[in-house]
Symmetry: C2
Subunit: 294 residues, 2 copies
């Protein structure tokens, strides 16, 4: 289950509270789509902005609406004891996997991060995805640290940061060289997905698929069937979306897409993170129309 | 009160709970020292690692033990609504000022950060220190943004990041050029303090002074009395401490100093942030002895 397309839904807010009906609507769309798993409370799901109570509620709603899809739950937090509480909540909801990012305020050492993954794998049998997202966690994994952590029992997958199509084959080889065979490698950064999958990644952890599952499934299936040129062409067709991701970050763009499609109330992100401005939304509306999204 | 030496105490933990007696002991040392103000729940006070309840309790303990010193309270958090709740708790405890850092997970825009400071100054009359700490918040203020924010009513001071003694005069001039006269400029990064004060900073926001007030007061008083060479010499005497700060970050080092001096239990930092290792502690013990700290 740590292969294929994993879709990361937003956790839309409305008036500074979780918009439960919008969240469930996004979940049901994903449950009815062809994605391979659903990962709630990832970066796209705004996990670090939510209280423990809000996170627990989101996990319960997700478990009730995921249908037959395996459910992955983000458990990252600044303090180890908080992480362990989120792990317990995910376990209780029957999560098939957990996603753990080494969120930082004080810069973390390799030993700090190894210690965190060891505590989590010691305390739970739920399979763990190592969530390497240096743009938000400000922690940079070395390849050697991947290797150390992947030896821990329960580590199931490593979500690697985006890498160019040209550099992907060597990067995937280098990661595989230090991890056991049962640990999968997943690409992130949706614009990099076709290249990463062509280079042999087993999984794609996708922000865009949380709101636009159909479009991303087309890229994934092409790659899975060995039609790498089709995967690249499908991804190239999405270039106007990837350009917006690069400019504003995927979260603000995908939130605006969801708002535009009527899947979330306007301003669904947690303040102080503001949504796109009026001009950017006008441009985005053109992209949504041109690409016939959703 | 947004001038002079502001001391930032640790919030020591013990078994993953706030060590209230150790915290009060640190507070009382500061209340009885010659520092000019006390700033709790700064980066040195581990504010982002603590729950809302823990933070409220720390503020109450601080208010009860600060004596005649003005009390400044860190209110930073990832979500604006959380920040506003911390502001209310600080107000209720009678804080003389609040310290606001634009903590980030998703990268923030200038407009996001301006909006945060506007919401806080709209909602409270407690004077605000703009906490610019890019090493932990991962947000970089432009000088122009200082100017925009400093125009808001209630902005009292700007805590600027460390700057070399050579570059400090020009930097302080550039900041002063964009802010109103009533807004003070405070240096941070203790190794940079003597240079910053010599360049005309009004305040020094000090991690070291939270645990070692006497040593830092000597540097501050020399600068305030215009004895800039004495300030530089006192700071130079502390070079072995500053070298450890540069290598391990001030928090881990000052926590180890507090532990070494019996002011906190061993391992007083919030996991996953580990304290210094055995070898580093041995080296630190030599520095503490050589500098005759505390």
């Amino acid at each position: 289950m740590f292969t294929g397309l994993s879709a990361f839904p937003l956790t839309p807010l409305h008036n500074d509270a979780v918009d439960e009906s919008a969240f469930v609507r996004l979940m049901v769309r994903l449950a009815e789509s062809d994605v391979d798993s659903i990962a709630v409370l990832g970066s796209t799901g705004s996990y670090p902005y939510l209280s423990a109570g809000e996170r627990r509620r989101v996990v319960q709603l997700a478990a009730a609406s995921a249908g037959s899809k395996p459910l992955i739950v983000g458990v990252g937090a600044l303090r180890t004891s908080e992480v362990l509480a989120h792990v317990r909540a995910a376990e209780e909801a029957g999560a098939a996997g957990i996603l753990l990012a080494p969120v930082s305020y004080q810069a973390l050492t390799d030993d700090d991060v190894y210690g965190l993954f060891r505590e989590v794998t010691d305390s739970s049998n739920v399979p763990v995805i190592v969530y390497d997202n240096p743009g938000t966690t400000h922690f940079t994994f070395s390849t050697a640290l991947y290797g150390r952590i992947a030896e821990l029992p329960g580590i199931a997958s490593i979500k690697i940061p985006p890498v160019s199509a040209a550099a992907a084959p060597e990067r995937v080889r280098a990661v595989r060289a230090v991890i056991p065979d049962h640990v999968t490698v997943g690409i992130s950064g949706d614009a990099a997905a076709a290249g990463g999958l062509t280079a042999g990644c087993d999984a794609w952890y996708s922000a865009a698929a949380g709101t636009l599952p159909g479009e991303m499934v087309r890229i994934m299936r092409a790659a899975q069937e060995g039609r790498y040129e089709d995967a690249a062409a499908e991804s190239a067709r999405m270039a106007p979306l990837w350009e917006l991701f690069a400019e504003h970050g995927s979260l603000r763009v995908i939130a605006a897409v969801a708002e535009q499609l009527g899947l979330a109330h306007r301003n669904c992100l947690p303040l102080p993170v503001h949504g796109l401005g009026v001009r950017e939304r006008r441009h985005l509306a053109g992209v949504v129309e041109k690409l016939e999204l959703a």
